[in-house]
Amino acid sequence: MTTIWSGLVIGALYSLVAIGYNTVLLASGVFNFAHGQLIMLATYASFLGSVTFHLPWPLTVLFATIAVAVVAIVEERVAIRPLLARRDIHAALITTVGASTVMSGLAEVTAGSDPKQLAIPISNDPLTILGGVIAPMDLLLIIATLAIGLGIHFWSRRSLLGIASLAVAENRDAASVRGIDTKLLGVGAFAVAGGIAGATGLLVGAHTYAIPSLGNSLALFGFVAIAIGGAGSQLGGLLGGFITGIIFALSARYIGSDYPQIVVFGVFLAVLLTRPRGIFGRAMERVV
């Protein structure tokens, strides 16, 4: 069970990236490859809050939420908005990669490449649950990810704003004609995705430390998570992340430490070949 817990923890990280990807993809039609870097920045913001400024954890979370949301809004205004005005979605994809590089570079230049340990608010002595061992902060990370993923899934299906963002994802022009403010929705999606990344920075950093390379480690498997779960499906992204993490951990434990990536990408290809829109992709499209 310890291996499963380990897979769930890593899976939670991939799910958070997938949630961020999907939030922006649904509302603005842009695939924000820099979302892994927003999570990386969230760990640094949480480090600043908890270690440098000695803030209590609620203020640390608030500080990181606001800080990363602001960075995400800046990214949208600088790297995305000018291209959307020219209806160049594919170029926007490239600029998010550029934004990603800028963010990781800036983090490295300003904070250095060594990992930084965050101050965590609770004892992290391991717990034994269902016969497996897990750190309390990791357990909170899994719970928080599930709560965020399910919350945003139901919000996107049941609230007017959520349905509007699905409409934009399907047809930006038609949505605009129906009176949806697509620009506001787009910038709002970046802010929400950044805010979620910031809010979870303390939990993520408790496991990974704050390191500049974190974004790159997460970006690819976050992509695999939504490919497995279904691009545009929050529930798919959430479950895709956990599935990816568990496959990764079980492969490393029982097949061999050389094989996790091969197995994960094998599953990734199998899903793409059999269900090109991912496990949950089709269901989302019917709702729209």
Partner: protein
């Protein structure tokens, strides 16, 4: 309702993902006829290929500080064979393809280095040495992987200046025999350096008659629990850890979480990361790290070391000193000093003549100029020959100690609490 826009975006995203997965390398045609025609007026070009960005950037910054101080000192003393030394630093990003591209671009510009520091990692060194061999350029560097690089037949101009991590294998085997370990596990990075290190331990443990089981991890891994569980199932008596930076922290964190406090030995690479500073004492129970003996505060040190430390602390690259201590600065310094000694004793920087000198056994180590190998450079033996281009360890090279802290001079201090 159409679903095409989302699909197209996803397809394009897939293409970008593929870019992440694909290492694209370009190559430049090399003009092998362009020989060095350096005269007294031309500078002695000391070409350094290192990772100025990426995970090892801070460590590299310290190394560059050492290179720069040494070059300044050598120029102050008249240069090398009367030629002023020019330091050329290239940022290879620890990527072999980038390193080769940059070197070929440099060579194609008509310039030829007199000596090259061929990368901070074995993978980069492995990519550069064939190019340097084709141009007969001497490389004096500090790669780790002896198994991959110590092939004078293939890389006749490549010489290592630090004792290879491979030598840690026989050193650990003696410890394992002394402690009566019946089976040992090793967790190492899935990289050229990690694989080279594993090969060395594997050979040494085989000779010692002690079974060695192993697992690897990717340097992008964020959790080591499954790998440790796999090793734990083998019931070893001790664990060897190879790695650097965040991955080593993940290993110790997972080890503590599993409550697996078997004797654990961090190799020289892992020990160069400040473990005691980054982990709580309970995570480091039963952990020993292999350090280079000259790095210990209570070892005898070269006469010039204190002055060097003072200069580093006031220099442009002082920012890394509190984290890494003096070692990386000394690596940079010593490599330049060795290049000077080799070129001076050979009377030229001509690759063939320098190689002949180094392999002849007549090369005299510049003990007074070297700072990273203890007093009188007693921790290293430049035992180069036509069969090996790596130096040999001495009884003063390695020691196992509990994870140390560093003192104000950046030297390792072993205390009861460390």
């Amino acid at each position: 309702m159409s679903t095409r826009p989302l699909s197209r975006i996803f397809l394009a995203a897939s293409a970008v993902c593929a870019l992440f997965l694909t290492a694209c390398g370009g190559s430049t045609e090399l003009d092998s006829n362009k020989a060095s025609s350096a005269g007294k007026d031309s500078p002695f070009i000391y070409y350094v290929s290192v990772s100025v960005t990426g995970p090892v950037a801070a460590f590299t910054d310290a190394e560059i500080g050492g290179f720069q101080l040494a070059v300044d000192k050598v120029n102050e003393q008249g240069g090398i064979n009367g030629r002023k030394v020019e330091l050329v630093v290239q940022n290879d990003g620890n990527d072999p393809t980038t390193a080769v591209t940059l070197l070929q671009k440099y060579l194609a510009s008509g310039k030829t280095p007199d000596a090259v520091y061929a990368g901070s990692s074995s993978a980069v060194a492995l990519s550069l040495l064939p190019v340097l061999a084709s141009r007969k350029i001497i490389s004096l560097s500090a790669p780790n992987s002896k198994a991959a690089l110590d092939h004078p037949d293939k890389y006749p101009y490549g010489f290592a200046t630090t004792v290879a991590s491979a030598e840690s294998g026989p050193f650990f085997a003696k410890e394992a025999q002394a402690k009566g370990f019946k089976k040992v596990a090793m967790l190492y990075a899935d990289s050229a350096t990690g694989q080279g290190s594993f090969a060395a331990y594997q050979e040494a443990m085989k000779e010692a008659g002690i079974p060695l089981v192993s697992a690897t991890y990717k340097e992008t891994s964020l959790d080591m629990t499954p790998q440790l569980q796999k090793l734990q199932a083998e019931k070893p008596d001790a664990l060897i850890l190879n790695g650097y930076g965040a991955p080593t922290l993940y290993v110790f964190k997972s080890r503590a979480q599993l409550g697996w406090d078997l004797p654990t030995y961090a190799d020289t690479l892992a020990s160069s990361f400040p473990l005691a500073k980054n982990l709580p004492p309970e995570s480091l129970k039963n952990v020993m790290v292999q350090v280079n003996k000259p790095s210990l505060a209570d070892s005898p040190h070269p006469d010039g070391l204190q002055a060097f430390i003072d200069t580093v602390k006031n220099g442009d690259h002082k920012a890394q000193f509190p984290t890494y201590g003096v070692s990386p600065y000394a690596v940079g310094w010593d490599n330049v000093m060795l290049a000077r000694a080799a070129a001076t004793q050979a009377g030229t920087s001509d690759g063939d003549k320098v190689k002949e000198l180094l392999e002849s056994g007549k090369f005299q180590k510049p003990s007074g100029d070297l700072l990273g190998n203890g007093k009188d450079a007693s921790a290293i033996d430049y035992c180069y020959s036509p069969q090996t281009h790596f130096p040999c360890p001495t009884s003063e090279t390695f020691e196992f100690v509990p994870p140390p802290t560093t003192d104000a001079n950046g030297m390792y201090v072993v205390t009861a609490g460390s």
